[in-house]
Assembly symmetry: C2
């Protein structure tokens, strides 16, 4: 949608809202639909090619307005998570519409998904241990629970364990900054021998620092065998799995108890929209359920939920699966283009394999030199890079993020970086 169409469509939408408010008294205060009404009104999968915008708007009146905020909000969310889950070719047990035990739900951030699954895993572990050891108090069990994650994992995993009152251990990574089965197994055996109770592993697909992928095909079977809840955090990289060529990176998902990624990061959905799937809905519901009378009559507080699935519905239909795939491929292509530019310049080095839209690179030389380069980049306000530390080295991260980024911007950014590099290297005592 270009700016001109955006203006036209935006003004139609303002008019729609104004009309709604003007005529609100003619509407029933309570929807006249049965729970579950929505699923049969829309397709079971996202369209391959873009739908017509006018058809989408017509569907708001046909599908959403009869169900108002509730139950339409909850039901569209479940169906959109099914659409997206199928785009990723998730195992059937994650798809609610297959009458399995799992399904998807929207969270605000990947951190929230990590916290929620860790708490559900904690509840499940306590119940399991208590079932076979009724003499043990909950406090005693809690004090033995241990969660695991990669030393490269996002800090929110550590924060989740802090909130959940559980110990957390960080598994060392290999040369690619990924966790494999061997290292994890070794820690696990030691901890079990020491009387600890491993209960949760948060694997990362696409780490924050370097976009590394934990080897979940190795980790999954270990977790399943040991009754450890495996959660997969693919916050950034998850969107790419809608492309068949990237889907193999998700192999091993069949072992996971829960899976999460952020369409608001890389699938053109505005912040916030973090999508989470669980294998068994009851694991989540059982851990947090409360049922006072006023909630029963308010349909589980759904009137207080934000209607975030609407934007998913619009984006999936306006782009179509092929349009979204093209978007991912364009970004990865641009990252590869930037990687080639870096590799062609002998003063620089690439610091991690470039798989998605992130390029980790640095000037061959001291950390101080690279920190200086970043400082100059930030000061000039033309591009914005966020650094990381890899194996003790200060590394620059070039991330393709914006919808409108093009080859021209990549070339421009590289010219800018090399120009600043040139200036720095000219300075005495750089």
């Amino acid at each position: 949608m270009d700016a001109e169409e955006f203006r036209r469509r935006g003004m139609e939408m303002v008019d729609y809202v104004a009309n709604y408010l003007e005529n609100i008294e003619q509407r029933p205060v309570y929807p006249d639909v049965e729970p579950g009404y929505l699923r049969s009104l829309i397709p079971t999968e996202a369209p391959l090619e873009p739908d017509n915008y006018d058809d989408i708007i017509k569907d708001v009146d046909r599908v959403i307005m009869p169900g108002a905020a509730s139950p339409a909000c909850t039901e569209l969310e479940t169906v959109m998570l099914d659409w997206l889950g199928k785009m990723l070719n998730l195992p059937e047990h994650f798809i609610a519409g297959t009458h399995g035990h799992g399904g998807g739900v929207i969270q605000s951030t990947a951190s929230e998904a990590t916290l929620v699954t860790l708490l559900a895993a904690r509840c499940k572990a306590v119940r399991r241990v208590q079932a076979s050891n009724p003499e043990k108090s909950e406090a005693e069990i809690l004090s033995k629970l241990v969660a695991y994650t990669s030393e490269q994992a996002h800090c929110s995993v550590e924060r989740a364990s802090l909130i959940g009152g559980a110990m957390i251990k960080k598994v060392p990574t290999d040369n690619n900054y990924a966790v494999g089965g061997d290292m994890f197994k070794k820690m696990l055996e030691e901890d079990k021998a020491a009387g600890l109770i491993p209960f949760y592993f948060c694997a990362t697909l696409g780490t924050t620092a370097s976009c590394a992928f934990d080897r979940i095909t190795e980790l999954g079977p270990i977790c399943n065998k040991e009754n450890i809840w495996m959660h997969i955090d693919a916050a950034y990289a998850g969107s790419a799995f809608i492309c068949p060529e990237f889907r193999p990176l998700l192999n091993g998902i069949e072992f996971a108890d829960s899976f999460n990624f952020n369409p608001h990061k890389w699938l053109l959905i505005n912040f916030d929209c973090s999508t989470m799937w669980v294998k068994k809905r009851e694991d989540l519901i059982g851990a947090f359920k409360m049922e006072p009378l006023y909630l029963k009559h308010e349909n589980q507080e759904s009137g207080k939920k934000r209607f975030r699935s609407l934007k998913m519905w619009f984006v999936f239909r306006m782009y179509g699966i092929q349009g979204l795939q093209a978007y991912i491929r364009k970004h990865v292509g641009l990252a590869k283009e930037f990687e080639s530019l870096v590799r062609a310049d002998k003063r620089f080095e690439i610091c991690a394999e470039v798989i998605m839209g992130l390029v980790c690179f640095r000037l061959k030389g001291s950390n101080r030199l690279n920190e200086l380069l970043l400082k100059r980049i930030t000061k000039s306000r033309e591009i914005h890079l966020v650094p990381c530390q890899l194996s003790g080295r200060f590394v620059l991260r070039f991330a393709i993020c914006a919808r409108t980024t093009d080859s021209r911007h990549i070339q421009q950014a590289w010219r800018h970086i090399t120009q600043l590099t040139f200036e720095i290297l000219q300075e005495p005592n750089h």
Copy 2:
């Protein structure tokens, strides 16, 4: 703003966004302001009378755009919480701009505020107990911690304690469904004698069921003396405290460690916007702080925050304090009007004192009869009531919620209820 003005202003806003997107490449990627730049650009208090809409829009360019999403997002939030805190006449230590140790922050829901403060209180209690008993393990302390709340409190308090892994005890209420000091003190003494460690009390101002007010002037000194974190949940009623005549209900706030209410419930701010203040910022920050390199360079993830304070800024300025006060008073007046109608009909009774915009009432007679009446009301889809249970009785709740509700709707609703009542009472074996 009527529908016509909404159309015009909405279209201007669409145009503003389109222009922004069209010219985005001319903008610097990084703002050219110093942290803290915003406070001096806007008044220290909300206006008494409405500001001109055009001036508000001009201020978006003057105040917000130079600071883009970050740091403008964080800074406007802090200042808006100061504005609102001053509207409520909160003690100075809750106002960030006074250079005290406290301040406000936006949460998504009151449930989230309860959880966050309970976790902070837990962390503080563990550290305090460990300081004087270094031999005690964290697990041992956790197993002794006990939180308290009213038996009339929202179920989210119980859920928060479940998540926090702490015991929770419910304090019985008096005839007005409120908790006073005596009852709490008694429980406290028993629990301390049994070796438990009281650490958190969640008081409610305006309970969900009947809008009852816990007596915080009695509870506060007890909490302060016993090192118990007192959190005040005023989710619904909090908005009313901007009116001097309702402010006495907040007396005792000076004893609280944290305070929360939902402007999205009754202060014309769209969902979600739940405002929370803490006496000591460090209590919150210390409990959840993580500082990896990538967060340091992203200014504490503020780029991933939603800019919810913008809608506060617009609403406060478009209505002015007097406009907001008038809105609260109108709703309370309408509730009183409905109360009079109920009281004038001898078949009905009022079940709790009407203080704010909620009227709890029922037909004199069996619960079954009242359940039947509610069923008929819901089925007819003209008005929507959510019931509650008070002292074992099934009670109907008439809540004034909508911006556009007027005396005419109250009269209409009452005619509707009495008509359905008439029909039911005519039926054999009602």
